[in-house]
């Protein structure tokens, strides 16, 4: 599974993307984020507040209860500020 971080999530985790292999018990975006928090203090800081995080699974917007599986591309980012 590929996880991408953008904007301040990228700054706080210190990485733009990483390949991860979560355990089979991780089946939703929310469970993935909870699991990712344990990867280090940067991850814990970046991912502490779910309310300020938006999600895309395979480049489509998704909710925290969306399913994730091996091979998915999961992106985590703050609300968008383009235009």
């Amino acid at each position: 599974m590929k996880v991408l971080y953008f904007a301040w999530l990228r700054q706080r985790t210190g990485i733009g993307e990483e390949q991860v292999s979560p355990p089979a018990s991780v089946q939703t975006v929310a469970e993935l984020v909870a699991w990712l928090r344990d990867r280090g203090p940067g991850h814990a800081e970046a991912l502490k507040d779910l309310s300020s995080i938006r999600v895309a699974v395979n480049q489509e917007f998704a909710t925290l209860d969306a399913a994730v599986a091996e091979g998915d591309e999961v992106a985590l980012f703050p609300p968008m500020t383009g235009g």
Binding site: F6, A7, W8, A75, F77, P78, M80, G82, G83
Partner: protein, 163 residues
């Protein structure tokens, strides 16, 4: 229907000409150009630097802009549409985004243009980082007014569907 995401600047006149020339079914062309505003002028952001960097999600950005453009073409009878959005480092006065819509009549062109800029602000994966004196920069926060502007078009569609 065209969508481009690029670091380089664009020439609005040439872009409009390119998507409309030769199509005599077009009776009206609307455009919106977004510029980098000098945040220092707003007062409230007195510590902000003047330049900003736009980050985006390559791949998803193009896909979302194309989806939004397709939605505009479903809602209004457009003869042509174009979205150009820049990324990278931009300074006050620089162009960020261009939306062009063309239709037989003005109402469809104007409404579709307004819809596109409202929707792309909340649905296209871009993030603005303002430069600050300390070097870390400050991520621009999403504004509730932008969400409200985007939602207005959702309500409009519901109203239309009910009629």
């Amino acid at each position: 229907m065209t969508v481009r995401v690029q670091a380089e600047d664009f020439d609005p006149g040439r872009e409009i000409e390119a998507v409309t020339s030769g199509n005599t079914a077009i009776g009206g062309v609307a455009s919106f150009i977004g510029l980098v505003r000098d945040l220092k002028r707003d007062g409230a952001d007195g510590d902000s630097g003047s330049a900003m960097t736009l980050e985006h999600y390559p791949g998803m950005t193009e896909k979302m802009l194309a989806e939004i453009e397709a939605e505009a073409n479903r809602r209004w009878p457009l003869q042509a549409s174009l979205i150009v959005h820049r990324y990278g480092r931009l300074e006050p006065g620089d162009r960020i985004v261009l939306v062009v819509t063309a239709s037989a009549h003005r109402q469809a062109a104007l409404e579709a243009c307004h819809f596109l800029i409202d929707w792309l602000k909340t649905k296209a994966p871009f993030w603005k980082l303002e430069e600050t004196g300390d070097g870390d920069g400050k991520w621009v926060e999403a504004r509730a007014t932008d969400d409200a502007a985007a939602d207005r078009w959702t309500e409009t569609r519901r109203k239309d569907a009910a009629e």
